[in-house]
Symmetry: C2
Subunit: 200 residues, 2 copies
DNA sequence: AGGACATCTGGACGAGTGTCAAGAATTGTC
DNA sequence: GACAATTCTTGACACTCGTCCAGATGTCCT
């Protein structure tokens, strides 16, 4: 029994390891240019092992998307919990977004790439939608807590608020990866202003 | 002379014809799954002719993106010119967005796909940025005119306003292509509310 | 009509793809 | 240490890809 569990764990652990290498490769090359052999070269294994752990490429990518989800919501909750005033929350949240914009730029561009793929490939849709829901929840918590702190109420449905922040972030990412050095600072300003705007 | 001009025109016309077929193919399959042979099958020519009119695939795709730009800003200006009250402009603009969301869904998903590609492929960046600028201008005109009509002023920089509308549209497109039938109606409501929000 | 040029065809090429399977290497168990 | 199961490597397969080119076809001018 324990031996079997141990094997399953080992199996799952290797799947995660391979998926992480795949995520790294995808974030460097993008979905359209990422091959299984290229992924394998980011590991210490040969390309054949990918088909031992994943049935086909779609299953691997799907697994990657799900795994990305587990990592993507970086600790905004700490910012929420730590903030004692509305302004603290606003600047903290904006700074966190501007920070991940730069630090995790390649992962974020992969997210937008894969989300676009889901517009064509139904196999990715459910997982993409789930990640969007998780991100929307995060925005909902931020806006809700901010409204609490400033004695206001959210004036937009949370789906619209999330769409707004997402749009701001995406434009900032485009600018940042185009070499516009003011991109993080501008995002910070925009996020703070937008957060105030959606609360009244 | 006139003969030369005629030839140039014919050459350019064929380029446009091929690029339109390429756009159709891209909007059906997405960038990652579109090959030159598949594009040629959407025309009455064989695949070799593509290399007679375009040096390589990147030049063809780039030309497509530029061509898309010429079509993308559907006549929102008519809505702007026709509206006599703020409410008219708001409902007209929202209805126009909801309309193109459904009618041109495949073209819109291509736009988001190519914009994501530009996050990885520098060759597309300039053209993508130019299209984004055109779209931002359009949003700026809508918001500006709306503010005029309701005796208010835009409260967000136009880049942030555009990012917001773009985010709303993108989420609506995801829902619409996932089969959510209320997507256009929800977009209409969200756009109207957001337009009022960014004007004070 | 005939020649000159533009346009198009269809096949070939080398490289790269996802997939698979036979066997080597490793690991765990008695 | 020997046997069995798991794990990994390697090479092959049938494709598809972008690119190129020799030659067929079309077009236009004199």
């Amino acid at each position: 029994m324990t031996a079997t569990v141990g094997r399953v764990d080992k199996f799952e652990e290797r799947r995660r390891e391979l998926a992480d290498a795949a995520l790294q490769t995808l974030s460097e090359l993008g979905y359209a240019r990422t091959s299984l052999r290229e992924i394998a070269q980011h590991t210490s294994f040969s390309h054949g092992v990918l088909h031992y752990y994943f049935r086909d490429k779609v299953e691997l990518i799907t697994y990657c998307v799900r795994r990305y989800k587990a990592v993507c919501v970086l600790r905004y909750d700490e910012v929420i919990a730590a903030a004692r005033t509305g302004e603290e929350l606003s600047t903290g949240f904006a700074a966190a977004m501007a920070g991940t914009l730069v630090v995790d730029a390649r992962m974020h561009r992969l997210w937008y790439d894969l989300r676009s793929q889901s517009l064509f490939e139904p196999a990715f849709r459910d997982d993409v939608r789930e990640i969007d829901a998780i991100l929307e929840d995060m925005i909902t918590r931020v806006v809700g807590r901010y409204a609490e702190l400033v004695d206001g109420v959210p004036v937009l449905p949370s789906s619209a608020a999330y769409a707004g922040f997402d749009g701001l972030f995406q434009q900032a990412l485009l600018r940042h990866l185009s070499g516009v050095e003011t991109a993080p600072a501008q995002l910070r300003v925009d996020v703070e202003r937008f957060l105030a705007l959606v609360t009244a």
